[in-house]
Amino acid sequence: MLRPRPFVGGHDDAPFWEGCRLGVLRLQRCRKSGIYLWPILPVCPDDLTTNFDWVEVSGRGRVSSYVVYRRLYDKEFAGALPYISASVELVEGARMTGNIFSADGDMNADIILGPEPKVDALIGRAVEMFFEDIGGGLRIPQWKLTRDTTSPAPGKGGKTT
């Protein structure tokens, strides 16, 4: 399936993409404040320090917000309509964006939501990260609903700017 190509090669992003290649979700963690950052930043917004570790995170989280796309805005999503873009809050606290898939791996929003869904049907739903191969040697984190509908505990240690 077509996907927009993410920009690779930004400042300090090599450990992230290397993790994706190896099948490990890694995020920046500030050595001083201990918070996890997403997106990748040169300065911790919490304490203004610049020393980080790259740490493997659980890949578990919950949907904090989402939108259903029924119109094509980016031709590289042609064939994927209707699809869901979401903000996922990891149990570690950072918020990441991505598409939502059903527990069976389906990306079609109508299949995921069913007929006449509530507007907030997915808010708080538990998700697990998986890597989607988008070709050209790139894998990106995506989010699959869990069969267990219990939400994981909200994260404490994240920072998303």
Binding site: P42, L48, T50
Partner: protein
């Protein structure tokens, strides 16, 4: 205090400029026990805003201290994107937002023309500087912004910083590869662009030369501040404003600033109540508070450090008081205010010129 008749006349004149809803009757706005009771009964208000997240959280924290029974839902959509999203919601018949705060005046004016806002005259209108009334009675600018050129003193010498006071100083070869710029889709990036486009010795030719300085171009000002503080790009040009840099200084960030001469200053963000506000009383209370002296004082807190457009309000910005005592600080000798009609009429064209010249 000036006579009310004069004020009403002034507002009606401004209302005719802010076309599209000029026939609306002007609603008087004051914080009364009745308004507070009605707002508390509603219990919540949704503010769509443009200011930085931490700034707005701090400001609303002060509002919540004053009115703890009213929950404020914050929805951040910065610059033109906020106005455009609201326009789409209006077209779809969605009434979700109560109070709007926007920074880019061309889309702000488009919302006025669509009849988005209630025509309001706050009871303290005589205390507001004329820049606060530029889009009255639909939108008010409670605060005054000033463009600064921010630099990291670990990577930029005092001698180099002095060059930045001249608008063309950034073209000095010494700055090549050390600069970041931000897309002019926010008020804070549009205002300096308006100065550039209205100044004979700058204009598109200057923008072309700026490109030759190999700047990094970011899509938002927070990215530029990250690059500034980390030293990756130790000069943030045409994208930062006094208040936000003072806040960073207050947090201990290695940042200083100069005002280019003349310093560009303008009404920072426009606030208004939507006609379709689901919480109309809480919306009015929030706007009335924001335009009051209490709201102005709250905006001077360490999370915001904003200049107020309320005349006679003492400058209580603690961080600014400390900065003024620093040897590197220098007041601007002159200031320049953009013509709002030029912003509204030509803003999109200037953005296109910027994109063609700089990207």
């Amino acid at each position: 205090m000036k006579p009310t008749l004069t004020l009403a006349t002034a507002l009606l004149t401004l209302a005719s400029f802010a076309s599209g809803a000029a026939s609306q009757s002007l609603e008087k706005l004051a914080i009364t026990p009745q308004l507070v009771a009605a707002a508390e009964k509603e219990g919540e208000v949704t503010l769509q805003y443009s200011s930085p997240l931490v700034t707005m959280q701090g400001l609303i924290g002060e509002f919540t201290k004053a009115y703890p029974k009213i929950r404020v839902n914050l929805d951040r959509k910065a610059g033109a994107s906020g106005a455009n999203a609201l326009m789409q919601e209006m077209a779809a018949g969605v009434a979700r937002v109560d109070v709007f705060q926007g920074s880019d005046n061309a889309p702000n004016k488009a919302l006025i023309d669509k009849g988005a806002f209630v025509a309001i005259e706050p009871s303290n209108v005589a205390d507001l500087d004329k820049v606060a009334l530029s889009l009255a009675p639909y939108l008010y600018f409670p605060d005054l912004n000033r463009t600064v050129i921010a630099y990291n003193p670990k990577f930029v010498t005092a001698e180099e910083a002095a060059k930045l006071k001249d608008w063309r100083g950034i073209l000095d070869p010494v700055f090549k590869g050390r600069i970041s710029l931000v897309e002019p889709t926010f008020g804070v990036t549009m205002a300096p662009l308006l100065y550039v486009m209205n100044t004979k010795h700058l204009g598109a030719e200057f923008l072309g030369k700026l490109k030759a300085q190999a700047p990094n171009i970011y899509v938002n000002t927070a990215q530029a501040r990250q690059a500034l503080i980390s030293g990756q790009k130790p000069i943030s040009w045409g994208a930062q404003w006094e208040a936000v840099i003072l806040t960073q200084i207050g947090r201990g960030a290695p940042v200083r600033f100069v005002y280019p001469e003349p310093a560009v200053e303008w009404g920072g963000t426009a606030w208004g109540v939507l006609k379709t506000a689901p919480h109309p009383n809480a919306a009015r209370l929030l706007l009335a508070w924001k335009l009051s002296r209490e709201g102005g004082q709250a905006e001077q807190g360490a999370y915001s450090n904003m200049r107020s457009n309320i005349t006679g309000l003492p400058d209580g910005r603690v961080v600014f008081g400390k900065v003024k005592a620093e040897t590197w600080y220098a007041e601007p000798k002159g200031t320049w205010r953009p013509d709002l009609q030029d912003w509204i009429a030509n803003g999109t064209r200037y953005q296109e010129i910027w994109a063609k010249s700089v990207r």
